[in-house]
């Protein structure tokens, strides 16, 4: 496999993991505009563990996933006190604060970036992405998945049916944070250099955009969103600006024509030839 193709596929795999990190909270009704913060926490945590303490990069990535998840769980308590726009803004503020703090942490390089010595290859990252997809897929076959879907369909009705809203939402937020951390850790160890300036609000916005582009009704949407976002720029090589213009126009067009995203539950049921009930159009 050529180095170029491998580089693209690595980015695709990382973006798929990231997409699920943003997908889980969105499904539970939370627009997390602080995804970048968890990516940064995961990336810096893993890089620090492998650089300073000589951990195996995969062990460091695992620990970073747990650390980002722990952070997510801790901030979920205050953040989930808010709702709607307030919640989106609270996650955004959290992201900015984390970025500001890391920028001032000289132990991990501060503003000058942080080189990472250990390397993780394509195979491990691809396996991680597949594993994440399988886990999320299985998760959505369980009672948890059905409950979270119920929450995203109608929060009030789900609450009235006696679903543990707070627990479901903080679980979705925590799992999403953990996945974002994993994506950050893998990125750090594949590209061997991280810079916290990259993990700002716009980074979070891009992730959320491609997840919504793919569609949040089914577990397949985020993969498609990540694929479009990663592969489209490669197809339109040349000017970086033009590909963002086309990406933006695509989002505007798709959101106008298919406001629920590219992949909807209805579409999947039709493709698989299942009887459509029309209940969730």
């Amino acid at each position: 496999m050529s180095g170029y193709l491998e580089g693209v596929l690595v980015l695709l795999a990382i973006n798929v993991i990231l997409a699920y990190g943003a997908f889980l909270p969105i499904v539970a009704g939370q627009l997390n505009l602080g995804v970048a913060a968890f990516v940064a926490i995961g990336a810096y945590c893993a890089a620090w563990l492998s650089n300073t303490w000589g951990w195996h990069p995969l062990a460091a990535a695992f620990a970073a996933t747990l650390a980002a998840g722990l952070f997510g769980w801790l901030v979920a308590f205050p953040i989930l006190r808010t709702r709607g726009i307030y919640l989106a803004l609270a996650t955004f503020a959290f992201g900015q604060v984390v970025q500001g703090v890391i920028l001032n942490l000289n132990v991990v390089g501060g503003a000058s970036g942080y080189p990472v010595q250990a390397h993780v290859g394509f195979t491990a990252i691809a396996c991680a992405a597949v594993l994440v997809f399988v886990l999320v897929f299985l998760l959505f076959q369980t009672r948890f998945g059905i409950s979270v879907t119920a929450v995203s369909d109608d929060e009030r009705a789900a609450d009235l049916m006696g679903l543990p809203m707070r627990g479901l939402q903080s679980a979705a937020f925590t799992l999403g944070a953990g996945l974002a951390g994993l994506a950050g850790a893998l990125y750090a160890h594949h590209f061997n250099y991280i810079e916290v300036q990259n993990y700002g609000a716009l980074f979070s916005i891009y992730v959320v955009l491609y997840v919504l582009l793919g569609g949040t009704q089914t577990v397949y949407g985020p993969i498609l969103g990540a694929a479009v976002f990663t592969l489209l720029p490669e197809l339109l090589r040349g000017s970086a600006a033009w590909r963002y213009v086309i990406f933006a126009l695509l989002i505007i067009a798709i959101m106008s024509l298919r406001p629920k995203g590219l992949v909807t539950g209805e579409l999947v049921r039709r493709l698989l030839g299942w009887r459509t009930t029309g209940a969730r159009a």
Partner: protein, 291 residues
């Protein structure tokens, strides 16, 4: 020295205040966080640079910047609000973010990513007030912000359009039942938002003598913080919030250095969201953000 910081903070805050007014107005009436506004701010600033560089007198540059801001905002309205009304509450937000990316990259293609130096048509005028340097352009900026908000306040309270806006803010469905033409009033919200941010972009370009395709992001994020600090949906709160954010920013630079600014400004935003989500003045001059 501290007085000087305070004055600088207030001047910086007046730019944030104008942007915050645009955000808070859209949220107050439509309950919609319009993420295309940073793009309109940037368009205002870049057009100011372009016009002044071409030797156009500054009032024409102002007119050009503000008119383009308003027109583009109406375009955004078509695609974010009209087309996808009732399509799920993330959708308008997502489309408005796409417009931000679109505007930024189109300007990038047209004029490159460099930080452009804005040729200011008049000498830098400033006067001393008890040892404190006050720059006149910035003072005009603050006056513009307050005057614009005063006019908006009058319009909201005393005109037919203003009553329509307040009814929609209360409840869009009931407003329709009562015969308010929602589809004709909503563009006004976008128009006003676009005019305010483009004006802010113009003032920013003149005050700081610089413009770039990404100038909108930082200012808009501060503007959003200012909106929350002042109370979402409250236009006077947005002014107060803008000034508070500006002062916090200059003082944290003074005491803790430039790299620590974000920690303090967004830490304040985080704290306000939890301890006083209704903001300093409370939501409610137009209507409350209800999400």
């Amino acid at each position: 020295m501290l007085e000087q910081q305070l004055v600088n903070g207030v001047m910086l805050g007046s730019v944030y205040a104008l942007v915050a007014v645009a955000f808070t107005f859209t949220i107050g009436v439509l309950n919609f966080l319009n993420f295309s506004l940073p793009g309109l701010f940037m368009v205002g600033g870049m057009l100011t640079w372009f016009a002044l560089k071409a030797g156009v007198p500054w009032p024409v540059a102002l007119l050009l910047a503000v008119a383009c801001g308003g027109l583009l905002s109406l375009l955004v309205e078509r695609f974010t609000w009209r087309l996808m009304h009732g399509a799920g509450h993330f959708v308008p937000l997502v489309t408005s973010m796409a417009f931000l990316i679109l505007f930024e990259n189109l300007v990038l293609i047209a004029w490159g990513s460099d930080l452009q130096r804005v040729p200011v048509p008049f000498d830098s005028v400033s006067f001393h007030l008890g040892g404190v340097v006050v720059a006149v352009p910035q003072l005009i900026g603050l006056a513009c912000a307050v005057a614009a908000v005063w006019c908006l306040d009058r319009v909201l309270k005393h005109t037919r359009v203003g009553r329509g806006l307040r009814t929609i803010a209360e409840d869009a469905e009931t407003a329709t039942l009562l015969g308010v033409g929602v589809s004709s009033v909503v563009p006004i919200v976008f128009l006003i938002g676009g005019l305010f941010t483009a004006l802010a972009g113009f003032l920013f370009a003149l005050n700081y003598q610089q413009a770039s395709p990404f100038m909108g992001e930082e200012v808009a994020l501060k503007g959003i913080s200012a909106m929350v600090v002042g109370g979402m949906g409250n236009i006077w709160g947005a002014i107060l919030g803008g000034l508070v954010i500006g002062v916090v920013e200059t003082f944290s630079i003074h005491w803790f250095g430039a790299r620590a600014v974000d920690v303090w400004v967004y830490g304040l935003l985080f704290a306000i969201l939890f301890f006083r989500p209704s903001g300093l003045l409370g939501g409610g001059a137009i209507g409350q953000a209800r999400m």
